[in-house]
Amino acid sequence: MAHTEQMAPARDILRTYGIHIVLAALIGVTAILSPAFLSGNNISNMLLQAAPLGIVVIGQVLVILVRGLDLSVASVMATAAVVATTFSGQDSDAFPVFVVAMLIGLATGLVNGLLITKRNVSPFLVTLATMTLLQGMRFAYTQGAPSGNVPPIYRVLGSQTFYGVPYNLMILVVLATVFSVLLHKTTYGRQVYLTGGNPVMARLVGIHADRITIASYVISGGLAALAGLIYSGFVGIVDNWVGRGFELDSIVAAVMGGVALSGGRGTILGGLFGAAILVVVFNAVLMLGMPIEFQIIIKGIVIIAAAAIYVRRA
């Protein structure tokens, strides 16, 4: 049969570069309307705020790639943040805090993964339940009012910059690179994509699809915990709602970044661009001094518009 090499239609270009176009457009428009937007400080502010979300998004992408969804991330974050304040608040305790928080995150991921693969309960419900569960435990533990100080080192990681480059951003970059490499250069990554692409086939070609799926949730839980610790350092004060809204924001970011909810397609980088859009929108509406109601409306529109650019194949 004759193979005619015709150039890719505009839609393909949009599908590949859509997210960048949207982001550029947002930045451009805001910059014109408010000069302060592109000031060095404001940019480093945005980066500072982008990092925690970005870290969560990495995990969310891994989960969505295996046809899943993780609604428990925000609850994990908050719990980790609470942990951060429950030790002496000195750097001497920075490590114990890290360990405990991580354990909680990984454990939650494990529970999610096991229930989803072994009992095949829908991810939406499982992670919704573990979210509630964690919230309850957190409240029970803090009696509703977390109190105590965050170890200084976390304050540094969460709110300081190194010549304008936030430390938490550096962490994000490292993590993003590591996991991107894992996804695209290793057999593990390949197994993730195959499992998401067709779980039945994956099993029949000898992939331990369940393990791969569980791994995604565990990683997601761990990263959420880490993000929670870092975010707790953003302000010294930790309430019960650190990271509130991140569960949906991280999913939206992933989808805007071209990660298919049907699994098997998408990249971490895409997800991070999605996250960038959310952060920019949040900052832009402030810069433009928009009243709250319009802020929310704009966010809604941007979400749909950005996602609409990834038109699925007919």
């Binding site: 404001n42 803090t142 009696q143 009012a145 109190s147 302000v235 019960n240």
Partner: protein
């Protein structure tokens, strides 16, 4: 001027200044012998203030354990619909006294009215219902906070300057009332300009993010930062400090140790006017008075101390105590002040009371 201030000890000013006689409620019809079953329908404990309030009720229950058979506490998790159900449940469990801290005034009106008309004495605390169908309402006024804080800021700025307002959440009554009252004051001063008003969800993190952005946008134009609460206040201060600001603009705080503490540490002129969680305990005690048949005021206003940083009193706003003394530098930032419980610490607090 700088003489130590130990706080206000007198009778409630609200009563002293009130131009009308307090309407007292005759409660003889409710008189019955204890021990009583008391139901408390709480809106939620989703923030430290509400936790403090709950604690002070439990403390009071502990102190009056002899008169109480059972104190049933329900929690609506900030969901008005659930709270209506909770109250229904409490009624059907036949409580002798109903204490309600409404999620929203309108939401609870119908059901509380129902309870009241069934002959159950009703004590409202923190938030009231729209109608008058209750025995007594324990409160401290949001309006007062709005007026006082704004008035202080205006005079602190010599009636001239730019202010950013950082309220909590759009559409929530506390925020709505405090904003309204403050704006009323600002409006009287042509040279006072409100640069921007952005909501912060009463989250320290959000408060910091918003303030950071506003700093980028308005820079040094900002002469004062008005908050309707200390939660975002503390975040705002952090943002200013991290922006490298020295001699920070005047700021308003409430309830939260972190806000006043940071203000003191950064030598920032601050006004603090708590909305005392202690009203929870008062509610229970007044409730017991009702069941004892003692007359009680239809509206019971808590008396609140004004705290100001030393040397920052203004013509019309005087301090009952100094912020420097009031802030607990030794305690964590998220401590809630004025629960009325000595050395209150949320994580360790727990008392025995009849459950």
């Amino acid at each position: 001027q700088d003489a130590d201030k130990t706080g206000y000890k007198g009778a409630p000013r609200t009563m002293l200044w009130s131009t009308s006689l307090a309407t007292m409620m005759d409660t003889t019809q409710y008189k019955k012998d204890g021990p009583y079953t008391i139901g408390f329908s709480n809106a939620s404990i989703s923030n430290s203030w509400r936790v403090g309030m709950l604690a002070s009720i439990q403390q009071a229950a502990h102190d009056n354990a002899d008169q109480i058979k059972q104190l049933i506490i329900t929690d609506a998790n900030d969901d008005p619909a659930k709270q209506v159900s909770d109250v229904q449940d409490l009624i059907s469990r036949g409580v002798d006294l109903l204490i309600v801290s409404a999620a929203t005034a309108e939401a609870l009106d119908a059901i509380v009215t129902q309870a009241y008309e069934q002959g159950i004495p009703v004590v409202l605390v923190d938030r009231r219902i729209t109608s008058e169908n209750f025995t007594t309402f324990i409160t401290a006024s949001d309006m007062v906070y709005g007026h006082m804080s704004a008035q202080w800021m205006v005079e602190k700025l010599g009636g001239k300057g730019n202010i950013v307002m950082l309220p909590g959440m759009a559409g929530v009554s506390v925020a709505v009332n405090r904003i309204a009252a403050a704006q009323e004051v600002f409006a009287n001063y042509p040279d006072i300009k409100v640069l921007d008003m952005q909501y912060t969800d009463w989250s320290p993190a959000k408060g910091k993010q918003v303030m950071a952005a506003l700093i980028q946008q308005y820079g040094d134009q900002i002469d004062g930062v008005w908050n309707d609460h200390g939660l975002q206040g503390s975040g705002a201060i952090e943002a200013m400090v991290e922006a490298g600001w020295t001699d920070l603009p005047p700021i308003t705080c409430a309830d939260l140790n972190g806000c006043v503490k940071l203000a003191v540490q950064n030598k920032q002129p601050a006004f603090n006017y708590d909305y005392p969680p202690a009203m929870g305990g008062v509610a229970l005690e007044v409730g017991l008075d009702i069941l004892a048949g003692k007359p009680v005021p239809h509206q019971y206003e808590m008396s609140v101390d004004v705290a100001i940083t030393k040397g920052d009193e203004t013509v019309s706003v005087k301090a009952d105590k100094w912020v420097e003394d009031y802030a607990r530098l030794d305690k964590p930032n998220d401590l809630i002040l004025s629960t009325g419980i000595p050395d209150y610490d949320p994580t360790t607090f727990s008392v025995e009371y009849p459950q």
